[in-house]
Symmetry: C2
Subunit: 196 residues, 2 copies
DNA sequence: ATTTATAGATTGAATGATCAATCAACTTAT
DNA sequence: ATAAGTTGATTGATCATTCAATCTATAAAT
């Protein structure tokens, strides 16, 4: 790992601070002043490294999903999987979205702040579309060998993605209202083959 | 129906305008100026009838769910139901949440704007908690005769509520991405008894 | 080793824009 | 004539962004 430049360090500090403020006080309350103060630096730094506030926020949105993708890859590796199709890969993907280490209130709350603005902020729409397409693709790929008809795979991929979204949102809105176990049970119900 | 006073008329006009602006441009962009202009009246009216902007917005949030409750009641009546327990009542409730007449992009988008702020705006949290509790209660009541164990009813009620939320959010975020039919299929999968 | 030069990093005050809320004046209806 | 309804300019607060000034670190030169 190459040594981090000051610029890289500051950017990461600002992104972390932005996500903390957004999760705790909401996107509306996340002023550059508050974010910079949270990072322990001056407000001017935001514009020195990111140009404007919007760039910092977009980078922050992107940062939220990195741990999910990383967990998916790690879960695959931990099971020694070389394929992303089939039930074990599906497990790896679901676990990457729902395990308590990943699905924290802070992460879910911050993600909800961004997704709620997708229809109005093109920057956010781009990130969201990218994330959504990859997520549905991964779920569809995993599910394909498990469904009797080809066309069902995409449908089930989308269905799972919507369910995962619902649980992320629930996690952001009602602290401690739902356990990861319950979420897994509900999703297993979706996968029940009695409906095909 | 008693004749509406000017006050009632203006309040409704302002609520409609607020929901239109919020759905089209987002909660952040919904200034009193824009809302009043949309309603075709002066900005000062907002404070004359609602006191402040926050009251108008809270009233608008409450207004979103009224058609859902009304549809539920109407659906029950249309089937001549006198009980809110059992499969037909469950149908009535699900249909009230997912029929194209109710689940419009505009309604879903506006609702998402408010729910995303529930953790930060106590006014919104109160409305949300009320709606959520009644929704889960209705679903639980309907589902109770259908599940083998008592404890499963509440769990399934919550599960259905989360799924409905997921589809409302999907409707707000991806225009035309999902049909009401698909949503119903996914929810029926949740109800499959193979998982109990 | 010390000094100097230079680029990068950082600060915080100033600017201009936006917005909610107020209110005095004006209009309409009864 | 009285009350209710309505307007829009004004006020004060908040915020993103800019920028001139200051500080720090590194490397070249003496």
């Amino acid at each position: 790992m190459a040594r981090q430049s000051i610029e890289d360090i500051r950017k990461i500090e600002l992104i972390d601070a932005a996500l903390a403020v957004i999760a705790e006080e909401g996107h509306d309350a996340a002023t550059t002043q508050k974010i910079a103060a949270r990072a322990g630096i001056s407000a001017g730094i935001v514009h020195h490294y990111f140009g404007d506030k919007a760039s910092l926020l977009q980078a922050s949105m992107r940062a939220i999903r990195k741990p999910v993708v990383r967990a998916y890859v790690e879960n695959l590796a931990a099971q020694g999987l070389t394929t992303t199709a089939g039930r074990p890969a599906l497990e790896a993907c679901l676990e990457a979205h729902l395990s308590p280490a990943i699905l924290t209130v802070r992460r879910a709350a911050a993600w909800l702040q961004f997704t709620a603005r997708v229809a109005y902020v093109p920057d956010y729409a781009r990130v969201h579309a990218l994330v959504r397409n990859r997520q549905i693709a991964a779920l569809t790929r995993a599910v394909r060998p498990l469904v009797p008809h080809q066309g069902d795979a995409v449908r089930m991929g989308i269905r799972l993605a919507v369910a995962l979204d619902g649980y992320w949102m629930e996690c952001a809105t009602r602290e401690g209202g739902l356990t990861a176990k319950e979420a897994r049970l509900a999703i297993d119900a979706l996968l029940s083959d009695s409906v095909w």
